[in-house]
Amino acid sequence: MRGENLRDLNGITQPVRFKPLDGIITGAFILVVILFSIFLFFTNSKGQTGVLVIQSPDAEYRFSMSEDRKIEIPGRLGSSVIEIHDGRFCMIHSPCQNHICMNMGWISYPNIPVICLPNRVSARITDSQESEQQFDGLSR
């Protein structure tokens, strides 16, 4: 009787133990993770094809992220200066008081906004595909 129920069902009468196939699959998974991370790191360092979208109270500006340049944007208080360099951008000068926008530093990832509320200027990178996949809130 002992183990009989298991035998006619599972084909397993021995205790389940670590078997060679488990080792192979574990190794394959670790390999896949390593390859995946290598692939991701390499593709990410190449892609600098985004578009910088700048909103000011008067107009919307678009600049390619591939060219280095300095941009002067007129706002409510004065002109904000945004610099594009090496596929990153930064608010390097702003007439506002707190300089929160300048303290955001250099941004290279898409959809991370740099916003100057007193001067009503905001800037962010969008993907080159101009996809509509924009989310404004996530909750768990």
Binding site: R2, N5, D8, I25, I30, F36
Partner: protein
């Protein structure tokens, strides 16, 4: 047959309990789960029919998300797609290869299929590049948690489930039961 149904219900209850329980364990990344609730599902591969296992998984997902407070929101859809892909993919694999592999393999495969299903669903809500990065994190952590869960599942099977079946506290499915039904 009655005892078999009670076994399925018992499994579903244990799985749902673990699903709720693991949400009490603090984890830094919101998407990451330990997958403790998958240990009953994986060991249940050896005991139940496909439709009963499907019931266990669905019950687990609904109850766990009900208690986490995320039922009918997008984490529920993400979890549901991951769990369904897992059960649909691993069930035939288990039927084919159960003699050559232990629960570690199925746990790892389960973690992978969970992640694939979750990421496929997540691409609907999150930009593509971000999904790849979350995917790397999920898959690499999934290998670790999947392996640990597999070892735990082996131990649970050898230590607990074999005995429960022996003393007929759990009645696995067999052809004899079908004739009774």
């Amino acid at each position: 047959m009655k005892q078999y149904r009670q076994s399925v219900a018992f499994y579903a209850a244990v799985s749902a309990f673990l699903g709720v329980f693991e949400s009490f364990i603090p984890i830094p990344v919101p998407f990451l789960r330990l997958g403790l609730s998958n240990i009953p599902v994986i060991t249940g591969l050896s005991l139940f029919r496909f439709r009963d296992l499907l019931f266990i998984v669905l019950f687990k997902v609904v109850i766990a998300h009900l208690f986490r407070g995320s039922l009918f929101s997008y984490p529920f859809l993400v979890g549901l797609s991951g769990n369904l892909l897992f059960i649909i993919a691993v069930w035939p694999l288990y039927r084919v290869s159960r003699r050559y592999a232990s629960f570690i393999s199925y746990s790892l495969l389960g973690a992978l299929f969970h992640n694939i299903g979750q990421l496929a669903m997540a691409t609907l809500f999150i930009p593509y590049q971000a999904v790849l990065w979350i995917g790397l994190l999920l898959v690499s952590l999934g290998v670790v948690t999947g392996f640990i869960n597999g070892v735990l599942a082996n131990r649970v099977y050898n230590g607990i489930i074999v005995r429960l079946v022996e003393y007929r506290r759990i009645v696995p499915f067999s052809e004899r039961l079908r004739s009774i039904e």
